[in-house]
Symmetry: C2
Subunit: 375 residues, 2 copies
């Protein structure tokens, strides 16, 4: 029976542990406490930190392969782990592109993947010139470490840019505000044996910079969804992926534009648990162990997922669990985390004969959890 | 967060533990070892035996409600547990009917549920008279303790009956061999609050007295499936069910005939994990805790499940896991049990647009696991 080690013990590791039960795979997680979501779900805890080589080695010694649930392990540590002979999935190349937005753009653009105009700079004059050329406002992004809307600043003028850049000694990834019609995500899985499978493109809806809702089929023409699918397959090969990766894309008037990679199971793939023949979590396990991949196709006509986050006052919507469960057709997932404002505490998935039905059901269940009436 | 105690730590408790992760429910299992399927899936072990009151009390002290995964806890112990103030689901009434085939027939027939002719007797003259009236061969069944074909004997003549009865000091449930067109099972769930939900009737296929395959929709007219559904709902109320119960029925030329009850999640409901909006395991948890029940309806047009059992030589088909996973569309479930001849070690579920597609996919995956070509 294979044993998979996951750096991180949050909800992604928790849902991977849940999937591992079906395969008879054992999961060991590197984390800091016995109350971590994955540990509460039955994964074995290897106490340690994601950015300490000695801890990574202790984990690696317990398992057949080491994989990730977040971006907190520097890619060079993964490289050193691999150099020591441990199996690591993803490899350092893919992991680095998931951790560094600028490097991802550079590498993928060089291979012909469409990216929006960008520059990596900490120089105010260069930012002003970029703004003059592409128009204000601009987005300034921290190339590494940002997620869920953190590390992204919208600056409306050279003055606002100066204010932000003056206080920092780092480079920013500078981008124009491009007119986005839709945001898509394609989950793609590639195994140690080079077998690759991409899920149907899903549409994501952000709220305050954080993923709020995901649904499938996306509300784009089939040829756009197909193009996204193909792009994700190409990128998986380009970055020599092993494991699961989310390829996030913008749909603009000029076609698809690359946004970013998450080189791990991803929020935009949670609905695969109910909606697809094989969930992203099971396929992540299959890929990292070197087992044949499962079919990523939809079992159902349509599905939607809405995140459940802590209230502005830090309240826990799952205190109203029974209200959410009373909504027919909703599948609830709790992560077993302590509530904090805006913290992801769980999600709701619904499937249905149409996207509208699925979205309405999921939204109703979340509204019931937070004690609001659904729109 | 609620904690549910399960008497038993096998595959039913394992899949209940897997479902509990989504709800954030904790599971404690009463079992004998840390290698039990449910414990390996992350349930907490309460060491003990299912037929010892002191052990049941130790479990009950750790949890909010005690439930069952098998018939090894005498109903009167459940009654004593309830009398001590512990919450028990199912109650002793339903549990007793699941443990005693003769009592189930007597109680249900008295309420107008159709049962085949039967008599409970250890008297050879009475058996001969029954055979003279209804025709030979007869089935003689142990009224309690039999499962998976054990405890059932087919006797072709008074001589064979004499041979069997002479060696026993117990009563047998005696039945004629009725012409069975189909075997159906309806999973029904009833909560502490009296809310009740029945799954679509599934068709079961036995092999050597053991459930081999399950599929849905059943190959019976819709009105027969509906009648089975209604019968299960009636029986759930009649036995004051709390939790999940399988109602097994025969379809004969004269209509539906009651066969037996399994008062717990059941093999015939495993396909609900992939095929239904809410699995039998999640609904079992919801019912016993007193949460609203989830929708039992199909998400998909059709589904099939085939059990994976140990080979005649005790070999483990999951040694060929990769072969099974390579069959597109199959969802594999391993129970983490040691292989023995005919022992249930896992199952495969497939969904599809037709029953034929689903059955073919599931059969192919099982054939791949056992190293045979599918028929």
């Amino acid at each position: 029976m294979a044993t998979v080690g996951i750096v991180g013990a949050g909800q992604l590791a928790r849902m991977t542990q849940q999937a591992a039960i079906s395969l008879g795979v054992e999961v060991v997680v590197l984390g800091e406490g016995s109350q971590a979501p994955a540990v509460r779900a039955g994964a074995t805890l290897c106490p340690g930190r994601p950015d300490r080589l000695a801890d990574l080695i202790r984990l690696a010694d317990m398992v057949d392969v080491v994989t990730l649930e977040h971006e907190q392990t520097p890619a060079d540590l993964l490289e050193r782990l691999a150099a020591l002979g441990y199996r690591v999935a993803p490899g350092a190349v893919a992991a680095r592109l998931g951790q560094d937005k600028a490097e991802a753009r550079a590498v993928l653009a060089a291979s012909g993947i469409p990216v929006a105009p960008w520059v990596l700079t900490g120089d105010l004059a260069a930012i002003d010139a970029f703004g003059a050329r592409h128009g204000w406002p601009l987005f300034l992004k921290s190339p590494t470490g940002g997620y869920d809307g953190r590390g992204v600043w919208k600056v409306r003028s050279p003055g606002e840019a100066a204010h932000l850049v003056r206080d920092s000694d780092r480079d920013f990834l500078v981008e124009p505000m491009i007119p986005i019609r839709h945001e898509l995500s394609v989950l793609v899985v590639r195994s140690t044996r080079g077998e690759v499978a991409a899920y149907p493109a899903v549409e994501t809806v952000q709220r305050d910079g954080q993923c709020h809702e995901v649904f499938v089929p996306a509300s784009v023409p089939a040829r756009t969804a197909d193009a996204a699918h193909q792009l994700a397959l190409r990128i998986a090969d380009l970055v020599d992926l092993v494991g699961t990766m989310a390829v996030e894309l913008f749909v603009t008037g000029e076609g698809l534009v690359f946004n970013e990679l998450a080189v791990r199971p991803h929020n935009s793939g949670h609905l695969s648990i109910e909606a697809c023949t094989t969930s992203q979590f099971e396929n992540h396990l299959r890929a990292t162990i070197g087992l044949p991949l499962g079919a990523p196709d939809l079992r159902v006509p349509a599905a939607a997922m809405v995140n459940v986050v802590g209230g502005p006052d830090g309240s826990d919507p799952f205190e109203r669990l029974a209200c959410g469960l009373a909504v027919p057709g909703a599948s609830l997932h709790r992560y077993g985390k302590e509530a904090r404002p805006s913290r992801k505490l769980g999600h709701v998935t619904a499937t249905g004969s149409t996207v509208t039905i699925a979205r309405t059901t999921a939204a109703r269940a979340v509204a019931a959890l937070i004690g609001e009436r659904a729109a």
